[in-house]
Symmetry: C2
Subunit: 305 residues, 2 copies
Amino acid sequence: MLIECIPNFSEGRDARVIDAIAAAIRAVDGVTLLDVSADHDHNRAVMTFVGDAPAVEQAAFAGIATAAQHIDLTRHRGEHPRIGAADVVPFVPLRGATMADCVHLARRLGERVGAELGLPVYLYEEAATRPERRNLADVRRPRYEGLRQRIAHDPAWTPDYGAARLGKAGAVAIGARQPLIAFNVYLDTDDARIAQAIAETVRESGGGLPALKALGLRVAGQAQVSMNVIDFRRTGLNAIMRAVREEAAKHGVGVTHSELVGLIPRRALLSAALESLQLPPETHALILEERIGNMMGDFQEITFE
Amino acid sequence: MLIECIPNFSEGRDARVIDAIAAAIRAVDGVTLLDVSADHDHNRAVMTFVGDAPAVEQAAFAGIATAAQHIDLTRHRGEHPRIGAADVVPFVPLRGATMADCVHLARRLGERVGAELGLPVYLYEEAATRPERRNLADVRRPRYEGLRQRIAHDPAWTPDYGAARLGKAGAVAIGARQPLIAFNVYLDTDDARIAQAIAETVRESGGGLPALKALGLRVAGQAQVSMNVIDFRRTGLNAIMRAVREEAAKHGVGVTHSELVGLIPRRALLSAALESLQLPPETHALILEERIGNMMGDFQEITFE
């Protein structure tokens, strides 16, 4: 069984804090830390690790505890919306595990984080206990500062687990979901309002593309459309890129480059290639390495001289 | 050691002949037949199989012998240039093998085909013994009919192995090369001259894209630009598609769809995706399955529920 966990921490600048969290995760037996992506402007780090259910639960708990110890939300500044030190902790079934396994895991971890660390926990997406908490953007909307006003008095903000009060480490959103792709597109302007206007048009909540979330930001002096692709099988990267380019052209700007934050399922890139090359979906079956792997077992990649 | 062999046979219509050749290849121990693609208009079948050097040599010999027995070039009609029943037999190093291994294999097989089957053999590309035979298109230029006139009298056409006379089974081009991608793009016109004009502009020999060969044909009533991508690391599929679309637009036509013939190395599609999404080449390292495979060993693909 292989489950992926992709916690987002509200620290993208202090290497000592990022390293301490990574070390706590890596120290858990049976867990492999695949990736650490830290972003200075978002002031945020995204870690990716895999293992079986007990191992990823223990590693996620260790990461949350370490982040809560080192990160002070009352002093945190960054472009990205956030409610806590360990801001979001999603579980994703990769192989031999179901979504139900991940929902169970999210709730068990939430209970433990509430009880042992005293942090308020909100369950989201597939693990949500209330429909209005399915969407992570809704859970995070008040941000740390707004949540501090509401948590004790507004029943809509009573956490699923833990105390209804917000300390310096804030709250944690814990959930279960399908693989998500964090895809940022940079524009040849420094005007964040153009990125915001494009984001509002292309995202699902603005009547745009299904299963797409988007924000407009200014990062390193450049306007950025920062997107989460919730289900690339419903809306692929190629369609997203085309939509962003078209909207950008209406504002008289172009795309300079793009980036991923964290890792991407291979199929999302392969599907984008087939679409942009006008090859039929059956072409997936013509990939040499997959054909060899299916017929002969383990085969990762051709080695070129 | 894994070597790939991708023989092209001059029969794309008679299933009994195609099946007989495939069965002869499949019967060799240690060989896995990955793919059989037959095309009615080209009247041509492309088979892909892998194994170690002795196994692929034996299977290639069996395929050539079976094709020579069943296919009569004096009665063959098809859109594609050809010189023999087993028209082209290339070897490609996939893993644990070098190009030198494949050159050695091509020459050993050539000697055996000449001696045991009496067919004229021309060594091409990396296995060529003369610079003017490196390019397969040059070897195949006279086609079966023209080669029959020249082979006995013109020293330029003396084969590397076998008799200098052409029977009904024709000649065989045997070579060693890097993975090649056979990529066909269809236009929304039935005018093959437009496909020919586009092919002449985009291919390397016309001053177009490096490492690209192209022909213009009419296939199933539709104009087709039929291309061989010799080295996708020099010219990727995305650049080719863009060039074909631009040239097509100058003729007032568009691209309806495209297709691959045979198999494709996964990296060629991944690179096309990164280019069309304006993602940097380092993004290859962010593919989840490759990261897991590198860190934990065998991992082919995420399974989606």
